[in-house]
């Protein structure tokens, strides 16, 4: 199966940084349909920069972002629109990723409007269906974000991300800001959506436990480079890199009972 989205030898240097000081260096990866991918990295690993490039918000300093086999050209509006329909995002902070002055219906419907997928009643139907997919009643459309808990807001954000029926969902630490019980629920939701809606998830996280729960493949980032990659069981159970081993042993474990 060919990759929907990928990075080809991508590097990024922030403006004003010293020459040779790259936030991301020589990264290549593929998002293959049906194989959730976990991007693991601590602060300073370059995962945020990578994500922004994958989202088309940042142009690589060198290398290319590949979408459906073709290089992503941010100036090509047609391609960008097609790209945005297929690749959507869930952000980390459920408190700042929803516009506090808009009602939920408008928030979830934004991709439908902006990408000109549908309008009027058809759009409303898509919004209702997306909300129901995430376990929220369609009646929430007339409420404001501040009326909901963190977990519910994250569901709303997920509903917004899936309303355009994308093929890839990029999730940036989607559960880090959530409580433990909610975290478990949202992970289940993401897994279900993956199988039900033919959706592949690329998740950026520092939390190995969450990556292990959701992703078939894992890539480990350190200082802007990929240090290890492979099927998740292999990376977790038989890592070749000392850094990966260090990461794994640092994960707090529940006592055996």
């Amino acid at each position: 199966m060919s990759a929907i989205l990928g990075l080809e030898d991508v590097s990024y240097a922030y403006r004003g940084s010293h020459p040779g000081q790259l936030a991301v260096e020589g990264v290549s990866l593929d998002v293959v349909p049906g194989q959730n991918l976990g991007l693991v990295g601590e602060s300073g690993s370059g995962k945020t920069t990578l994500l922004r490039m994958l989202l088309g918000l940042l142009r690589p300093t060198s290398g290319r972002v590949i979408f459906d086999g073709a290089p992503l050209d941010l100036r090509d509006r047609g391609q960008v629109r097609h790209f945005r329909r297929s690749v959507q995002t869930v952000f980390q902070d459920p408190y700042s990723s929803l516009d506090p002055r808009q009602r939920v219906g408008r928030i979830v419907g934004e991709p439908v409007r902006s990408l000109r997928i549908a309008s009027g009643r058809a759009a409303e139907k898509m919004v209702a269906e997306a909300l129901e997919s995430v376990g929220l009643s369609a009646a929430v459309v007339s409420h404001y974000p501040h009326e909901f808990s963190g977990g519910q807001r994250q569901r709303i954000a997920i509903a917004r991300a899936i309303v355009s029926r994308p093929r890839v969902l990029l999730a940036d630490e989607p559960v880090s800001a959530l409580d433990v019980i909610t975290r478990s629920q949202v992970i289940t939701l993401l897994a279900e959506l993956g199988s039900r809606r033919d959706l592949t998830v690329l998740m950026v996280s520092h939390d190995l436990g969450v990556v292990g729960a959701l992703c078939e493949r894992t890539v480990v980032l350190k200082a802007g480079r990929i240090v290890e990659e492979g099927p998740t069981p292999q990376v977790f159970g038989d890592p070749s890199e000392p850094y990966t081993r260090q990461l794994l042993s640092a994960v707090p474990r529940l006592p055996q009972v």
Partner: protein, 270 residues
């Protein structure tokens, strides 16, 4: 005699809602206890109440006796001698606990000077020793730095050094590693564990992460919506929870851990 006795603690926010309801527990010298709960459970407010640091508008009722002194309703001048000397606090976000304008050496010198009465070269040496004790490499450079110039893990170590400077009997740590990377978290927890053990301090460890709490304490109180719903050894809370919330909480933590462990096992065997 117990170091800390909390009885029927109630904490109310400015809008009149009780955020902590009828919470009671005791901490003996050298004893460790965890406060587990999600956001809104009241665990942090309980911690703040013990040391008399509730935000303005938030009031406490009931009884908190810390080393023989009643904290609830006590005027500041009764509480100041307790802070640092009897009970120290470590915050979640070290950036807010440290003054960004002051060099770290100076910030650390202040409580040390106050407690040990040192000055000049002796004080300087004590500061450097304190920084070494929290395993900070290059303590001289650290003392000359400011809080925003160093990493999160280093900041938290400095915060720990400051908290321990007055040799408190009780340490309250409120989600001290939540904002840190996982490898750094592991190191800071190890450090904290060792220091608390070496000095025979009592510890109240507040967190939403059951696995992290289990690294630091054997016993915990589970809080939910302001109430202490269950308490016991962590093993017991995991294996035989009595309250449905504890069960749900433990189940969620276990489920994620199980997936993680399964991936590891699969990789090892495969």
């Amino acid at each position: 005699m117990n170091l800390l006795e909390v009885a029927s603690l109630e904490v109310t926010s400015p809008d009149g809602v009780a955020r902590v309801k009828d919470v009671s527990f005791t901490v003996a010298p050298g004893e460790r206890i965890g406060l587990i709960g999600e956001s809104g459970s009241g665990k942090s407010l309980t911690a703040f109440a013990i040391i008399g640091l509730l935000p303005s508008g938030v009031t406490a009722a009931g009884s908190i006796v810390l080393d023989g002194t009643q904290v609830v309703g006590a005027p500041e001048k009764h509480l100041v001698p307790l802070r640092g000397r009897v009970c120290a606090f470590i915050f979640q976000e070290p950036l807010t606990a440290l003054d960004p304008l002051m060099k770290l050496g100076r910030q650390l010198a202040e409580p040390i000077a106050r407690h040990q009465g040192l000055r000049g070269a002796e004080l300087r040496r004590a500061v450097l020793e304190a920084l070494e004790e929290v395993r900070l490499s290059d303590p001289e450079r650290m003392a000359e730095s400011r809080s925003y110039e160093i990493s999160g893990g280093q900041r938290q170590r400095v915060a720990i050094a400051m908290a321990l400077a007055c040799r408190p009997q009780l340490l309250i740590a409120d989600e001290p590693t939540t904002a840190l990377d996982v490898t750094v978290q592991s190191e800071v927890l190890t450090l904290l564990d060792r220091l608390v053990a070496d000095r025979g301090m009592a510890l109240i460890f507040v967190s939403h992460d059951l696995a992290v709490v289990s690294r630091m304490t054997d016993h915990a109180i589970v809080m939910r919506a302001g109430e202490a719903v269950e308490r016991g050894s962590i093993a017991q809370l995991l294996a035989a929870p009595k309250h449905p919330y504890t069960a749900a909480f433990a189940e969620s933590a276990r489920r994620i851990e199980a997936d993680f462990a399964a991936a590891i096992d699969q990789g090892r065997d495969g």
